[in-house]
């Protein structure tokens, strides 16, 4: 059996596309519907607040309400990446667990970024996005969603269980929301450091998930 050739065949674009499509079909509710729905709900809340409470008050309230979006993306990512027994079953096929997780990560990233763009576009149009400095502020929600999905990928791979992974994601979110974002107002500086760290962590998790048996043993603890 030529392992290298199988490994090569995983990276063919057509196969990658069908793999991603299969994952979307399997859990589209968690990976796309809930993040986009939350984004829509937050946007509607912003529009309603802007209409009834005025732009200033709405902008202040949105400072808190906007944070619900990355939290929901993170919770969805943990469930999508760590809570589906069928993803583990893929290790026994030629596709492999790591490829499936990567496909799910890609779909989650796409859903999270689209939702963040939608959120920012609506709130920016109504002028209620908190601390808005123009289109550059879109980096704040988009970067937040990407960071949280990458952290969820890392946490599911390295933490013991879905429960611990959820807590890790929420802890990182709390750190970013209550510490980092308040200290660093400029959107570029605000996102590039955490994004680099999250990418590095996700890369480490990707390499670590080559040892699939140990990973499956960890990711398999669905109940806990």
């Amino acid at each position: 059996m030529d392992i290298a050739r199988i490994g090569h065949s995983r990276l063919q674009p057509r196969r990658a596309r069908s793999l991603a499509a299969a994952q979307v079909h399997r859990s589209k509710a968690v990976m796309l519907a809930v993040p986009l729905g939350t984004s829509a709900l937050v946007s509607i809340a912003g529009v309603v607040l802007a209409h009834f409470a005025g732009r200033e008050a709405a902008s202040l309230a949105m400072m808190l309400i906007v944070q619900l979006y990355p939290i929901s993306v993170g919770a969805c990512a943990v469930v999508a990446l760590g809570d589906d027994p069928l993803a583990e079953l893929q290790e026994s096929t030629f596709v492999g667990f790591r490829a499936v997780q990567l496909a799910r990560l890609a779909v989650m990233l796409a859903g999270g970024v689209i939702g963040a763009c939608l959120l920012f576009a609506v709130l920016h149009a109504f002028g209620v996005f908190p601390n808005d400095i123009g289109w550059l502020s879109a980096l704040s929600p988009i970067g937040g969603a990407v960071i949280v999905v990458l952290v969820a990928y890392t946490a599911v791979s390295l933490a013991g269980s879905v429960r611990s992974a959820t807590m890790t994601v929420i802890a990182v979110m709390i750190f970013l929301t209550l510490f980092w974002d308040l200290q660093v107002p400029n959107p570029i500086d605000q996102r590039q450091g955490p994004l680099l760290v999250a990418c590095a962590a996700a890369a480490i998790a990707w390499f670590a998930s080559g040892r699939s048996e140990r990973l499956l043993e960890r990711a398999g603890g669905n109940a806990q």
Binding site: A29, V30, V34, T38, E56, L60, A61, M63, L64, Q67, L68, I71, S72, A75, C76, V78, V79, A80, D83, N131, A159, G160, S161, V162, R163, S164, T166, M167, T168, V169, I170, A171, I174, F175, L178, F179, L182, P185, N222, A223, Q224
Partner: protein, 259 residues
């Protein structure tokens, strides 16, 4: 089987998950950091019980967001594992079982908070132990009830909704409660704004905190008395118990529905 023994069994099961330790220490550090930014005198001899109470409120509210998101499977896990028939055939009521599960899990998670409070109390008075006792009182009156309330809320929502939705809903519910009871946004300058932190009735009534902790303009005497604080504490505990009972009964009932 007595409740304490049951809780001890679940504590042992929770203690095995080493990731929980790491995450709870991380959450405690975040909460202590937030408290240190707002209250620089927290761990110095110049600090007072007001600082300890504020740390208690942070430790009660911030890690509880993670508890709310993470513990949604406490009540519904037996059904997913397929052991609800075994549980049902044991002579333990479902409410007692879920309460033991919540207690055991939190018994593992809550230690770092207690340690942080006691260390800060000790740093405030290296010679006397009065502030250590105050720290323990803050822990019992503020941190522990809030942690149990968050876990009970999480279990309750998890028994009603599917998992992903339940996690988001529970975290969102807790965030909404925290945001609208604790933070008051106040404009500073032209386009920037700042969060003022509102202390809750227990901190005001028992430990003499000001209504808004980091804004001197709104300072003054506490708005709540010790009686209000006790009332709120009793209400919180009652709400926790009610949520645990309802969650256990709902999930036990749903376990045996045909699907």
């Amino acid at each position: 089987m007595s409740f304490l023994r049951l809780a001890r069994v679940h504590t042992r099961m929770a203690r095995r998950q080493s990731a929980l330790w790491a995450v709870s220490i991380l959450l405690t550090l975040i909460a202590v950091g937030i408290a240190l930014i707002a209250m620089p005198d927290l761990a110095k001899p110049t600090g007072s019980q007001v600082d300890l109470a504020f740390l208690g409120q942070t430790l009660g509210l911030v890690p509880a967001i993670a508890y709310a998101a993470a513990f949604t499977d406490l009540a519904s896990a037996p059904a997913r594992l397929g052991i609800m028939e075994i549980e049902d055939s044991t002579p333990v009521s479902p409410v007692k079982l879920l309460a033991a599960r919540v207690t055991g899990m939190l018994w593992v998670m809550i230690w770092p908070s207690a340690v942080a409070l006691v260390v800060c109390g000790f740093m405030q008075s290296p010679n006397g132990f009065l502030s250590v006792l105050t720290a323990l009182a803050v822990f019992a009156a503020t941190v522990a009830p809030l942690a149990f309330l968050a876990a009970a809320l999480s279990a309750f929502i998890g028994s009603l909704l599917p998992q992903a939705l339940a996690r988001i809903t529970a975290a969102a519910a807790w965030c909404v409660v925290v945001c609208f009871t604790t933070f008051a946004p106040m404009p500073v300058g032209a386009s920037r704004s700042k969060m003022g932190v509102v202390t809750d009735a227990i901190c005001q009534g028992f430990f003499g905190c000001q209504p808004v902790i980091d804004l001197d303009a709104m300072g003054g005497s506490a708005a709540y008395t010790a009686f209000d604080a006790s009332l709120l504490l009793v209400l919180r505990i009652a709400l926790t118990l009610a949520l645990v009972a309802v969650a256990a009964l709902i999930s036990r009932k749903r376990n045996f529905q045909r699907k």
